[in-house]
């Protein structure tokens, strides 16, 4: 099956990736190959079959409402590439005010 290059480029943006223009064609070929292989699934009759998304039952057992120790904030923040006081720091998303 063939894939529209612009559709794949849209997907690259959705996946928050950047792919160099030289690699895009190779990637399109690979993804096309895999999806063509997966075309075989269309021949399977799935009338009346429910999809399986989870491997265990859907019950959500409640536990006792006891407080547990979480991880100290410092230990979490120490792994952050950039931080400011007790916050993760990211590039600004609003224009200067």
């Amino acid at each position: 099956m063939s894939i529209d290059k612009s559709e794949l480029e849209k997907t690259i943006v959705m996946a928050r990736l950047q792919i160099g223009s030289a690699d895009v064609q190779k990637l399109i070929t690979d993804v096309e190959k895999i999806l063509s292989y997966a075309e075989q699934l269309k021949e399977v009759d799935v009338t009346g079959v429910s999809p399986t998304f989870y491997m265990v039952g859907h019950e959500l057992p409640l536990r006792e409402d006891n407080s547990l120790n979480g991880l100290p904030v410092d230990s979490i923040l120490s792994a952050a590439p950039e931080k400011e006081s007790s916050f993760f720091s990211v590039p600004g998303i609003l224009a200067d005010i």
Partner: protein
Amino acid sequence: MSKLQTVINGGIDYIAKQVRQKNISAVEVATYYLERIERYDSQLGCFMRLNPHLMDDAKKMDALVSSGGADKMALCGVPVGIKDMIVTRDLETSCASKILEGWIPPYDSTVVRKIKDQGGLIVGKLNMDEFAMGSSNENSSWGLCKNPWDIRRVPGGSSGGSAAAVAAGLCAVSLGTDTGGSIRQPAALCGVVGLKPTYGRVSRYGAVAFASSMDQIGPIGKTAMDVALMMEVLAGHDIADSTSLRQRVPNYRKICEESIEGLRVGVPKEYFEKGLDVRIERLVQSAMDILVEAGASLVPVSLPHTKYGLSVYYILATAEASSNLARYDGVRYGYRHTSKDPLGLQEMYEKTRAEGFGDEVKRRILLGTYVLRSGYYDAYFNQAAKVRTLIQNDFRNVFEQCDVVLSPTSPVPAFKFGERIDDPIAMYLLDIYTLNSNLAGIPAISLPCGFVEEEGQQLPVGFQLMAPWLQEGLLLKSASAYQRATNHHLQRPQLT
């Protein structure tokens, strides 16, 4: 043979017993493995990094033994290697990815905590394909891991380091993770035993997520008995993993001693079709004969949806991965793109991920994002999820006719570096016999059943047994009976 070597050869239960009884010290055992790592691992590339505190931990264990505090520790002084996909407190965990390089977790995964609680010693972190995506260990950002039987060949993957390290005697036992065969396929290619437990049997807390509905942690060891002891330590419900099952953990070692008289072994015709190396087919046939001699009977069975497994797997697993790997955004941990020019948030995300992820990971994220897009969701994702139900039903039906299902683990023995890396389908086909059990959530084990010769080198071959949900005992019992009757698992590679 030295006393130490006799203890090491005795298996992990015996090592722990000898350390508990002070016939040998944890320090002596740890030194034995560290010396081997120093001697052989610069060539093999199994360990990405060692636990710098191993010797201190061993000394502490000996002190605990002396004070009588280790009497009940099942893994007392046993050196365990951990796949880098599994979180270890204060020891870098990178999933062999640049995007997590340098991440020092502030907590232990449940499995690592359980190993430590039972006196096990963490040797270090084992090489793997980046985020467990691969079947040859060639996708590691850290570097290649080589097969100890022939260093020109791959160890399999994604838990390549975990299997190669056990085969080469660089640790007594190891942990791997298995999403589509990542424990069993490298175990087969390296001549060791690898078990993928039932989905939910072992806690996934602290296992970095790839495809959450398929991932399982499991042990790799030299014998079924070693793997049985590890399962007694690892299995059980965990409050930190809501998908872990509330089921009693049996005494697997005791089950290993039971006879397999009357065991019905299903042989699915779909697992012996084209693509399977005839030499492997012959060895798997002789494994069946051995089981029959031990009292089992063979039952021809059919799993008609087997051939769709690969497509289902690569749609569902990549979809789940695209969502799970969204967390690597350069904000909370790991790699972040830095630039002198001010960047917007979106651009920071994109550059971080473009530079941090390897090609295979990008390919899978992209494929997963694509099949989840509205407009494609029904055609791909939903259809695959329905066929997954049919694959599960196949197993449910077959297990009414037999107790376990037997098949090859891998269609080919260890292959050379670079042979398949350029063709994703050729690489994905290596998991053709293993991934259906992940789709169904059932347990499966791979164990050695002989060797084939390639260019003058002996390469190990494995066969696989699959069992109904929570019947790991049946797998271990069958594997033990097989290993009592054979000596393939006792063969070791000649290291230089």
